[in-house]
């Protein structure tokens, strides 16, 4: 299985971040962009996908237990996030480009028998890759995300979400004031004190200036609010395609989630009636920060069941 060029560490990470993220950084070119990822362990690959505005750091507590259980754990930073390249032109970005980047990443690493674990924008991207090449995917783990064109009420309301990404308001709030990192993350975790001490510095570190934060405002605008909006056709295709797959699936959801409320978990259950779950864990939108051990336990139990069922 091919791996990209290895760095023993990302030299720019300061010690107080590195102590929580002691993994070798790797980089690979996808569609002309430099993508950072972590690639640890051996075995069937498990791909952990973040959303906005996080990066592979979000999964720092998932990597050791999944690796120890005998799996290869791969955690990329989407283009525009984390230690990946941060292009500075809004028109460079579309949901379709992000899906194509991830699909190219999966192809370049020649990943087979792949389990994708996804949350937030990791959902539309990872699930799209799965329906594009279902034979390469062993399982899906869906957490606090969506796969259809209609947004949640959170996304369709002017206060605060549509106001945040309104014209002229968005570059001010997301890029000059960095509100998604400085405030949005805090508001979207349950264990807030622990988050501030341990994690917030890492999310700040990779978005230090105006240009580096562009994607935090581009992604909200890619959520379709109407039938003809950008991304709407792709999300309709994803919903239809996902409903036709029989890839084993697990649904894990945060009890305190408000961005994609409980109804979204139930909608995934209707879309994927064969899925286990939904299993409810303590967690707001960034449930990986709140309940990493519990979620990993559910994932590993699920994978063990699949492995048992697939044995002759």
């Amino acid at each position: 299985m091919a791996k990209g060029s290895a760095f023993t560490s990302a030299p720019d990470l300061p010690p107080h971040i590195r102590q929580h993220f002691p993994f070798a950084s790797r980089f690979i070119a996808v569609n002309g962009h430099r993508m950072h990822y972590v690639d640890e362990g051996e075995g069937d690959p498990v791909l952990l996908l973040h959303g906005n505005p996080t990066w592979s750091f979000l999964y720092r507590k998932f990597i050791p237990p999944i690796r120890a259980a005998g799996y290869r754990v791969i955690v990329p930073d989407h283009i525009g996030f984390g230690l990946s390249e941060h292009p500075a032109r809004e028109h460079d970005f579309s949901l379709e480009n992000h899906i194509a980047n991830l699909a190219e990443f999966v192809r370049r690493l020649d990943l087979k028998r792949l389990t994708v674990v996804c949350q937030d924008w990791g959902g539309p991207m990872g699930l799209s890759c799965a329906v594009l090449d279902p034979a390469s995917f062993k399982a899906l783990v869906v957490m606090n995300t969506w796969a259809w064109p209609e947004p949640s009420t959170f996304h369709s309301s002017i206060f605060p979400w549509r106001m945040m990404h309104a014209p002229v308001v968005a570059p001010y709030l997301f890029q000059r004031r960095n509100v998604l990192v400085e405030r949005g993350l805090y508001l979207s975790v349950v264990h807030r004190e622990r988050f501030i001490e341990e994690a917030l510095p890492a999310y700040r570190f990779v978005m230090p200036d105006y240009d580096s934060r562009l994607l935090t405002r581009v992604f909200p605008r890619l959520i379709p609010l109407g039938h003809d909006d950008r991304s709407a056709a792709t999300m309709r295709w994803l919903e239809k395609s996902l409903g036709q797959t029989n890839i084993p699936a697990l649904i894990v959801w945060g009890r305190e989630e408000i961005v994609f409320p409980a109804g979204c978990a139930e909608r995934f259950k209707k879309l994927l009636p064969h899925a286990r779950g939904p299993l409810w864990v303590t967690g707001s939108h960034f449930l990986q920060e709140d309940s990493p051990q519990e979620i990993c336990g559910h994932i590993l139990e699920f994978l063990r069941e699949i492995d048992r069922e697939s044995q002759p």
């Binding site: 014209p167 002229v168 001010y172 004031r177 509100v179 405030r183 508001l187």
Partner: protein, 133 residues
């Protein structure tokens, strides 16, 4: 909010340099915002071909230039850049610029109207700890 739309002849800042503040590349993301800019600055499609920039003065007295951007396939202006006009070699205070731009946002939202309200902007600003909200 007291934003004054001014002409180049009315600028008080002399011997200034342009300092980039921010860019909005999708002014038509909600078209009411583009229409509000068109109305406030009296723009026509002819402005896309070498037209003059716009200017405004914030309540602080600091002045800003707005560059109107054109893009094939989109209505004009497709975007705007906002630049602070800073006396030639003076330092820039980003917080002061952010305060000025916050007032510009209040002014803009009031002009957009309809479902967009200054109250909703302020409520959003309070959630996200914007000091001037």
């Amino acid at each position: 909010m007291n934003i004054e739309i001014i002409t180049a002849a009315e600028l008080r800042t002399k011997s200034y340099r342009n300092v980039f503040v921010m860019v909005e590349e999708r002014l038509g993301h909600y078209d009411g915002f583009r229409e509000a800019i068109v109305g406030a600055f009296g723009l026509t499609p002819a402005h896309a071909d070498g037209g003059a920039p716009g200017y405004f003065r914030a309540p602080s007295g600091r002045e800003y230039q707005i560059i109107f951007m054109a893009r094939s396939g989109q209505r004009f202006p497709s975007g705007i850049e906002i630049h602070a006009l800073v006396p030639q070699f003076d330092a820039v205070d980003p917080e002061a610029a952010d305060e000025d731009i916050w007032h510009f946002l209040e002014w803009l939202i009031a002009r957009v109207g309809g479902e967009w309200s200054v109250e909703a902007l302020k409520a959003t600003g309070k959630v996200y700890k914007i000091p001037w909200a």
